[in-house]
Subunit: 163 residues, 3 copies
């Protein structure tokens, strides 16, 4: 893997550790993260510092991947998917001062190999999504998803197991 | 209609068949599609190959329109709307190789004339939305919507008929 | 406060009244609005004419803030949040002509000081969100939220009060 920096009219990529044959589309903002070989990053995607994206993943357009998210190999992330790393976000402290990195606790999310996250899914912070699990489009995931489970709805519930 | 190509810091438009008085806003990615006369395309929109958008449509910001979608004349598509063309998306095949165009089946979606799709709506693949139908904001549409029906919710259900 | 105009490859900012130490990230489209001192505006955000954003607010990536929205001081707005200002949007009139500003009624939305709006929340038009209220991620807000209330779900309902 190598590190790349791209600063042009279509991409703002800072200090990204990148594998072979990664494809990053236009209007992408990403920094201080890792993207494994063969993965594709769609248009209008933001990937924050510290994220690790495995090999052969597909991250679709309009998706937001925040600090604290690890995505293993072969994961499909649909369009307009949002991850979360703060369970109780606030702009300001009780005294009215702007919150800084010291004022909140980052929670981590893990998406295991081969999982698929449907379009417009929202994943709360601190969640683990199991291997080969499938999250239906438009779901809000509020608890861990076992391996090979199909979850859907708001809040997302078990629909069936993949045999 | 004529074909346009625009490649500048605000727009990446490739091979778009376009009618008179179409307005395309900034930070738009679109290719190999058709946009009818009088239609407006908002900021941060992606429109994929093969899409047909009718005349006098309004496609609002942050919306994603995938291959396989046809939108007839006079349709309102709200902000942050996502279409889907793959009922069971996966990044990789069972053998771990990256999926290609050969490895999945594209399903088509049709939005009939005069329909309105609210903000943040997600529309599953293979759906037909009827003439003048209205889809409430934040809905997840999982089945066909009849002409003149108002649908809302996750999953979206019939709320009432427009008289 | 002063007025700024920025027109470069990353930002399209027209006639924005801005306070001290405002931070606006890349790929942002905003015009004829006001942003108070200390506030931060994330990537892929659109802010329309007439919006007022208070001091020390955080507006996260992929969020859309439409005309008619007022956000007071110290408000957190998560990623992928959408506001609405038209209760029955249509692209065209009954006679098939494109709607103009005269053909619909704009409704206003107010987010009071200290509130937090979770990621992927959709807020219908005409809503007031109370002081220090918290809206759970993925919610669709269809009615007013009292001060200090926690709302979640689609449609969003009262979960508990903050003591």
């Amino acid at each position: 893997m190598k590190y790349i920096n791209v600063d042009n009219e279509r991409q703002n990529l800072k200090n990204i550790k990148i594998g072979e044959q990664v494809k990053i589309y236009d209007f992408v903002n990403a920094y201080d993260c890792q993207i494994g070989a063969g993965s594709k990053i769609g248009t209008f995607v933001e990937i924050q510092a510290g994220c690790i994206i495995g090999e052969n993943c597909k991250i679709s357009s309009h998706t937001f991947i925040c600090t604290g998210v690890t995505i293993e190999d072969g994961v499909f992330v649909g369009h307009n998917v949002s991850f979360i790393n703060d369970l109780c976000p606030r702009a300001v402290n009780v005294d009215g001062t702007m919150q800084t990195e010291k004022d909140w606790q980052m929670v981590k999310t893990l998406v295991k190999a081969g999982a698929s996250i449907g379009t417009s899914v929202t994943i709360l912070g601190g969640i683990t999504i199991g291997r080969n699990a499938l999250i239906g489009a438009g779901s809000v995931v509020t608890k861990d998803v076992p391996d090979n489970a199909v979850f859907a709805g708001n809040p997302a519930k078990l629909i069936r197991m993949i045999k």
